[in-house]
């Protein structure tokens, strides 16, 4: 592994600014790494599409501007020239956006998502599009139509989902930064099981325009990185009001990077950290619980006051989520019918009417999990069932918001393990959808309430990463960045190095896997 790829985004940005490295060198180093470890059959397979030519062109452009010096160079964004990977749910001109689905295989969007416009304006080279559970439905990336992504810590295990590709890419040092989307934990949970940082901003803090919609009232685009500071820098870049998204918050982006730096400096006196009673203990692996308890001790040592809070309605969060999410999603995915775009499939028997073409197109284009959720959502919204299902779930949502509000009276930030288990084996939960859904039990409440959440590496259990989640009140993302950075600093001080330094030699592991398959 060359040193370039282990640099954090901010460290890399510093070297680019100082002229110690060129962006082309940086991009090339990452492209080489992708070639070495991202094999689809046996490697990480984080990427569905690698965007080498355009990425190098953007890098060259940045290098030229820097070399020329002057006002234009001075005006470059701090992250200019730092490569980034993008979850294949976010539309990009010039390279395909598949949503991990056969329905959109090869689809070329004629427009860029707002966050992509911002990234292009800041001149971050886009390395490519990363793998995901189809249409963001899943917690393991096993529901991608284009094959699994494997956890860099152990290639026989899941990288989390739905954004397993982005988290794995960053954990595998294939990219220092990535974009993900989080509807029920799809950024945070992969972050937890891959030992990386993943954040879900306050609902509305980042524009959803250009993120293929799953559940409109729950989705948010967010940063994936290896450090809390990197995550904060990226969220600052992509956040802000967007007139094209009616749910976009009107405020400007708060000073998140500053909050992260403040947190890293260490002192948390006066900060009340609330432990959510319902999100720990039973159902959580012993190793996960142990790392969590240790983190609390570290926070205490830094001056934080640990309090216990109870959110009694969180026990219904999963149920409410699995009513609201499929309902909205069933409506959002209705547009995929083979009329205007997508892979139209004709029925092989009987007359070819548009009704039947739609039926055949959607039958062929969607995988089982997507179909399951569409049917569930259609059911929850249907006449006679609305009040009992969708309507009731929206009420439970109110109760969950109230639980949060009460908790935030007594604590400044809340804390829990991000996920109840470490990465499980590929295939282990595929036959049991309900078991799969339980992966999100700790992350879902934040989406329902719209509050921000972040997962930071909390250590290892049986050699596999454990994530620690911080939650803050809506619009108080800075608070969670501060607390998360403080924990990160404390832990890295304990370990002497970042958690990912303990990960296996990936090139060797991939080579071995290929060998073993022969």
């Amino acid at each position: 592994m060359t040193d370039i790829i282990t640099l954090s985004a901010s460290a890399l940005a510093e070297k680019l600014r100082a002229g110690e490295l060129t962006s082309v060198e940086a991009v090339q180093a990452h492209l080489d790494r992708i070639a070495a470890v991202d094999d689809a059959e046996h490697g990480v397979h984080a990427f569905l599409h690698v965007n080498a030519e355009e990425a190098l062109a953007v890098a060259a452009e940045v290098d030229a501007i820097r070399a020329a010096g002057g006002a234009e160079a001075a005006a470059l964004h701090p992250l200019a020239g730092v490569p980034i990977a993008v979850k294949d749910l976010i539309v990009t001109k010039g390279q395909p956006t598949t949503a991990g689905s056969r329905m959109l295989e090869g689809w070329m969007s004629p427009y860029d998502a707002t966050v992509i416009e911002k990234i292009r304006a800041a001149k971050l080279p886009i390395l490519g599009k990363t793998n995901l559970d189809e249409f963001a439905q899943g917690s393991s990336t096993e529901h991608s139509a284009f094959g699994n992504t494997r956890n860099p810590w152990d290639l026989t295990r899941i990288p989390g989902g739905s954004g397993g590709g982005s988290a794995a890419a960053v954990a595998a040092f294939e990219a220092p930064l990535a974009l993900g989307t989080d509807t029920g934990g799809s950024i945070r949970q992969p972050g937890a099981v891959t030992g990386t940082v993943g954040a879900k901003p306050t609902y509305g803090a980042v524009s959803r325009y250009g993120a293929i919609a799953m559940a409109s009232s729950l989705d948010q685009i967010g940063p994936v990185a290896r450090t809390v500071l990197d995550s904060a820098l990226l969220q600052e870049l992509i956040g802000g009001h967007d007139p094209r998204d009616s749910t976009s918050l009107p405020e400007t982006v708060p000073a998140l990077a500053d909050a992260a730096r403040q947190g890293a400096a260490g002192d948390l006196s006066g900060v009340r950290v609330g432990v959510i009673k319902e999100l720990q203990g039973e159902g959580y692996e012993a190793g996960v619980q142990a790392r969590f308890d240790e983190s609390l001790e570290l926070l205490k040592a830094r001056g934080a006051q640990i309090v216990e809070v109870s959110c009694p309605h969180f026990q219904y969060a999963l149920a409410a989520y699995y009513l609201i999410m499929p309902s909205e999603m069933s409506s959002n995915l209705a547009k995929f019918d083979g009329v205007r775009y997508g892979n139209r499939v004709l029925p092989t028997d009987g007359n070819v009417t548009i009704e039947r073409v739609m039926g055949a197109t959607r039958a062929a284009g969607f995988g089982d999990e997507v179909k399951r959720r569409i049917i569930l959502g259609t059911y929850a919204l249907s006449a006679g069932y609305y009040d009992a299902y969708y309507g009731s779930a929206q009420k439970v949502r109110t109760l969950i918001q109230r639980d949060f509000a009460a908790a935030f009276e007594r604590a400044d930030v809340l804390i829990s393990p991000t996920a109840p288990t470490v990465a499980f084996e590929l295939g282990a939960k595929l036959d049991d959808p309900l078991a799969m859904y339980l992966n999100d039990v700790a992350t879902i409440p934040a989406n329902l309430a719209g509050v921000p959440g972040i997962s930071v590496p909390g250590g290892l259990s049986d050699g596999l990463p454990v994530g620690i989640q911080f939650l803050a009140p809506a619009r108080e993302d800075a608070r969670m960045y501060r607390a998360a950075a403080a924990l990160e600093a404390a832990l890295e001080e304990e370990w002497g190095h970042p958690l990912l330094a303990d990960a296996q030699d990936l090139e060797q592991a991939v080579a071995a896997a290929k060998e073993g398959a022969k």
């Binding site: 689809w107 070329m108 004629p110 609902y203 509305g204 009232s217 729950l218 009616s246 749910t247 918050l249 009107p250 219904y316 999963l318 149920a319 409410a320 699995y322 209705a334 083979g338 009329v339 775009y341 997508g342 892979n343 139209r344 004709l346 029925p347 007359n351 070819v352 009417t353 548009i354 009704e355 039947r356 073409v357 739609m358 039926g359 959607r362 039958a363 969607f366 179909k371 399951r372 569409i374 049917i375 569930l376 259609t378 059911y379 249907s382 009040d387 009992a388 299902y389 309507g391 929206q394 009420k395 439970v396 949502r397 109110t398 109760l399 959808p433 309900l434 329902l448 719209g450 809506a474």
Partner: protein, 98 residues
Amino acid sequence: MSAISREDVAHLAELAHIAMLDAELDRMAGELDAIVDAIASVSQVAGEDVPATSHPIPLTNVFREDVVGATLTQEEALLNAPDAEDGRFKVPAILEED
């Protein structure tokens, strides 16, 4: 006691315009039954007086000015069209009774 029957699933699949084979309908009915059982408790949790939340962060009156913006060209619009003719998207016969 089955919460969601095969007939239900068949009807829903029709509403959702997803063609499904018999075997699929059977399997899905079983899977969904378990899921629906698990989430049915939701209807008992909140009382009459609890209002529904459809938007997590309350905003109101988000409007835009009545000013024309950029449009796609016809070519861009039809770029990914599975079938097109005369500048329009082409679809097979729409079934209507006589």
